[in-house]
Symmetry: C2
Subunit: 192 residues, 2 copies
């Protein structure tokens, strides 16, 4: 499975592509950071991000795009910019019929380091080790993008099992309600 | 000037197009609300919004798109969805080289009702009056989209003057610093 990891942001947007093999085997194919000039109007910055991300998707043809899900624990303006960048990236994937999954920062940290509250240095160290890179990826956004892709590769089987279980539960619920309805009807007939 | 007003949102996204005439004269050309199903994955919902907004832009060819700038005073998840929808809309405008402006809810309310803290009913009443509509626009998102477009039409001359003043100030600053530099150089020469 080929996974594209994205750490969305207006100023710096981390991008990575990883190929997963057997078990927990993962190989890094590409990693980079897109930067957009802060003095440009917002819509122009989003266009730069969108164009770059679309180029990556068309070049690497990932099966899935994993994006960091950000909550508003940051500065309101930064959170808004992250949301806007994330939206543009998810849209680019939807246009290509590529599946999109969101992972929270603590899910990513837990997957890569075993600790949901690990700091940036720990994440970078583990990413370097897991992917057997010659040197540490910099800046932190690049390491985060790689960590996101690794996290998705490792969580994907669990996510698939969860989706299957949920679908089965929904089917059971539907059947149960149909039975309930039929019983109620039969009872009503008897009462008459 | 033709202005497209957008009240971004994942569940309901208000869209409007308004033509401004002389003075404070404004005419509504179109208004609608795009809804996306909550059970669809996020990237599919963004695609629905993007496709609709692109169709509107290609049909009405607005000169400017006015989008509501939302702060995180709402629920974190809603704010994120609003940000993502707003990003996709700003991107559609950037792709068509259409200018984008953001206005805060209080700027919109102040422009339309004279009160930055007006409630939804007051905004709807004033929008209906200003545009001389036969009936009140519903739901509130439609009225908000119209209010946004009106707000931009009325604030546009002020925004243009502000931009001109800022450009002039930057030019003056540049000249002043050049003079300072020249003076310092001359002084250094005399001192030698």
């Amino acid at each position: 499975m080929r996974v594209m990891g994205v750490d969305p942001g207006l100023t710096r947007c981390g991008l990575s592509v990883i190929e997963s093999g057997k078990g927990r085997n993962v190989t890094a194919l590409d990693v980079d950071v897109v930067r957009t000039p802060a003095d440009q109007p917002l819509h122009r910055r989003l266009l730069i991000i969108s164009d770059t991300v679309e180029y990556w998707m068309d070049t690497h043809r990932p099966d899935v795009v994993a994006i960091e899900r950000v909550f508003s624990n940051q500065n309101a303006n930064t959170a808004m910019g992250t949301g806007q960048a994330g939206g543009v990236i998810a849209l680019a994937a939807a246009r290509r019929d590529i599946d999109v999954h969101f992972h929270t920062p603590s899910e990513v940290k837990a997957a890569v380091t075993g600790n949901g509250r690990a700091d940036k240095a720990q994440v970078t160290t583990m990413v370097t080790k897991i992917l057997a890179l010659q040197q540490k990826p910099t800046p932190a956004d690049a390491a985060d993008a790689l960590a996101l892709a690794i996290c998705h590769c490792w969580r994907a089987p669990m996510i698939a099992r969860m989706a299957a279980a949920e679908a089965m539960a929904a089917e059971q619920r539907r059947k149960y309600q149909a039975t309930l309805k039929a019983t109620a009807k039969a009872k009503a007939k008897v009462a008459r």
